[in-house]
Symmetry: C2
Subunit: 225 residues, 2 copies
DNA sequence: GGCTATAAATAACG
DNA sequence: CGTTATTTATAGCC
């Protein structure tokens, strides 16, 4: 607009990138910078025609999200990487490593391969108990026949299962990649979940934490390039 | 730094926020702005001590992500909203609406409530067939006893189940919130998954798309405030 | 990938 | 939440 008064503000001051101590100040900064971040994201979407999802938890632990076209679908794409394992670009090192891991797993795999058959049969059995007649496998449960409570129960179950799988997947990779590692038996891994290796994401040694030139402190944030 | 030559660059030019037509140019802009976005995110993390996850799919559909502390755990928190349904701030309207939905569901719910018991029993049965003795419920499957194939199968199953649930959850809400809606039977909903309403996220009329003051074109992006 | 001039974001204040 | 003085991000080049 038009400047009527001059030199009436000290203007923007440089601030160190450290945790802001003053709480009210922090709240203001959070709001402004969150808006800025979302604006930048929207511009990137428009300029480049790409999909972006952002999830931010406020200092008060309230969830803010930005998504184009939709947070959930982007998360879905992220959690379900396109299974074209042989991509064209320079992922060969990744592939080699993954194949190596598979090779190392072969013993275990052979040892329990027959369980897969049992698994399928049990799937069909569960299917039967789930009282549906047309579904062939256990994940095709008759969702329409379930009510809210059932759905919530199912959700919780899946979350638990996911955590379980992630935990043991991490454990398994640790066990075979290093020294036998402090195994706590089948108990909870002491180091949280870890990456969902069994889901095809971030095998520990495959994707390095890349710091984007001099931009960001590499020790504190996780990237995937 | 020190300027040795002056006026040797045209400097930054204003560009319209529209899709960049020139492809090479677009690639450069994407890289630069993605770096900038991630830097902003990291600064917001540090300044305000908050958790952020960003997922970006490049024009070539490659996934880039930023997360502090970790993309997966933040996604987890986002998809599993803290079940303290009675929060302090002004979520009352949300609560009212949610309760209304629950009320509407009550008929269905009562009609099939007994299935919950059956569900539990079947869980235990599945547990038995999964050959574990200490686990009490079906989601506590003995992951350590599974091999890579089994885990991958499990992953796929869960993904299918998730899609299944999301699909029918959307359908269910549509059916009860509006006119009977074009029901395609139990077939795939024509409009993709839709939000995972049954999971406690984004009931259609509850969270409005809020445009952050004049910052972002409100019609194209999805926020949750 | 680096440089520079300029546009845009934002810290401090009202 | 609006203004202003600055810092920061980045478009156009090499």
């Amino acid at each position: 607009m038009i400047m009527i008064k001059r030199k009436c503000s000290s203007g923007r001051q440089k601030i160190p990138i450290e945790k802001i101590p003053k709480k009210s100040h922090l709240q203001v900064t959070f709001s402004k910078r969150r808006s800025g971040l979302f604006k930048k994201a929207s511009e990137l979407c428009t300029l480049c025609g790409v999909e972006i999802a952002i999830i931010v938890f406020s200092p008060a632990d309230k969830a803010f999200s930005f998504g184009h076209p939709e947070v959930e679908s982007i998360i879905d794409s992220y959690l379900t990487p396109n299974s074209s394992l042989e991509s064209s670009s320079g992922h060969q090192l990744v592939e080699v490593h993954r194949n190596a891991n598979i090779g190392n797993l072969n013993m275990q795999l052979t040892q329990i391969l027959n369980q897969l058959e049992i698994e399928k049969k049990q799937g069909e059995e569960l299917d039967r108990v789930w009282k549906t007649r047309q579904s062939k496998f256990w994940w095709e449960i008759p969702v329409p026949q379930l009510g809210l409570h059932e759905l919530q129960h199912l959700m919780f179950s899946m979350e638990e299962l996911k955590k379980n799988v992630a935990k043991y997947a991490t454990q398994m990779l640790m066990d075979q990649n290093n020294v036998p590692a402090p195994v706590n038996g089948p108990g909870p891994a002491p180091n949280g979940f870890g990456p969902f290796d069994a889901f095809g994401h971030k095998p520990p040694q495959i994707y390095a934490n890349v710091n984007s030139s001099t931009l960001i402190n590499p020790s504190a944030f996780n990237f995937r390039y």
